[in-house]
Symmetry: C2
Subunit: 251 residues, 2 copies
């Protein structure tokens, strides 16, 4: 058996998220369908770095699967892309050691979130950015970002629906935002992320940008460990799983 | 009665084109549904500068309608956008004289077409550009563009399915293309366009870019007035109705 690692991208608009489910179109479902065809009907299971929700996009999601076949990476890439739908693409394939696991071996994940800060709706951005019509104080938001960097318990900033037991402590290498024209880009690089964490943090940052909270409130919010202190989760369509890093040699 | 002119934009992906049809989602259908609601059930007919096909986008389509109501333009805009779906937006409203007609008074139309010239598929561009993986000689294409400028009979470059009787002579103010990174932008400004004309011209330009034809062939092709001389019509998703100009004061 060989273990194959793939870096994939998808437009999340028409997927009911990553995880396979009966009678809905999911990324895992489409990948396993293509792999099963390549394997003449033998079911091949796909493992990802993590799930993504309905409408969330991926520029660099990472998956692995095991196969009895021995093919050069370029042939895997071509065989898969021939069978996959237009909104799902495999752009890098690598043969990895048996010990590699797409989920357990993650060293760092990067998410990005895009806000289109214009009063006028842009029909071409509806599925790709969160259209936010009110003025925002970018400097206050940038200042607030720093409070998330480092090691913290992110209980306040994770979904109450999350069923993960274990620790809610995560390390953020980078939390930043900048504005270019009407587009605001948020970058999150961390050791791992809790369920809905990026979307809840963005909600808090937009509150700060509107002057409803102070940047320094973040310290207090983190300490209180209470999800109910925060408002709405921002919409999925602005969120991109940008990159997954593994320990060398599986960068 | 007042006559109202609206400049609208739409993402053509999920519309079966502009023109109203039973049991399908069209731009005209959505506009008339919203207007009928505003008019308490009275059916209001919408007239556009012209139709667009399934999958074709609009940055600046223009329509008009007649109404017994007297509302400031800003209120029309707000009322309509509240009722319209996310992929259709009214961004400018004007009260115009009774004599104005969105189709008959067009002075100039601008179309743009986008090609994504990369070997690797980009899942985020599938509905918005034509992904063309082969190398293209941009200079040859730019040179060929000039042959379309000016006044010509465009029979060779219009759909054989077109039912328009009348003249196939049109005047092109500008036909140009340029490449920026992997994106190629084609700009067409003309007095009017025949059915599928832009998409057939782009097909011929891509042939020239691949060295299958010479730029100077265009003169001969225009003279022969025969659609069968040309290849495939390029896909709808790269095409945008960019702007419609009217005689002053209806710019």
């Amino acid at each position: 058996m060989e273990k194959i690692k793939c870096v994939i991208s998808y437009d999340g608009t028409n997927f009911s998220g990553f995880q396979i489910q009966p009678r809905t179109r999911t990324v895992q479902g489409e990948l396993e369908k293509a792999l099963t065809k390549i394997h003449k009907g033998e079911h091949i299971r796909v493992h990802a770095s993590g799930r993504t929700d309905t409408g969330v996009h991926a520029k660099g999601q990472t998956i692995h699967f095991e196969t009895p076949f021995t093919l050069p990476p370029q042939n895997w890439k071509q065989a898969l892309n021939t069978l996959l739908p237009v909104d799902l693409n495999v752009y890098k394939v690598e043969v990895v050691p048996e010990s590699f696991h797409a989920r357990y071996d993650v060293a760092e994940k990067e998410y990005r979130y895009y806000v289109w800060n214009e009063r006028e709706k842009d029909v071409f951005k509806q599925n790709y950015m969160y259209q936010f019509p009110y003025p925002l104080d970018i400097q206050a938001m940038q200042y607030a970002c720093r409070y998330f960097e480092g090691t913290h318990d992110f209980t306040t900033f994770s979904s109450a629906k999350a069923t993960i037991k274990g620790s809610k402590i995560r390390h953020m290498y980078e939390v930043s935002c900048h504005k270019e024209g009407s587009k605001i880009e948020f970058i999150f690089r961390g050791s791992g992320f809790l369920y809905n964490m990026v979307r809840i943090i963005i909600g808090a940052l937009l509150d700060i940008g509107q002057g409803r909270r102070e940047p320094s409130d973040i310290t207090d919010l983190l300490e209180k460990k209470d999800r109910r202190l925060l408002g709405e989760t921002v919409p999925a369509q602005g969120l991109y799983l940008w990159r997954v890093k593994y320990e060398e040699p599986h960068q």
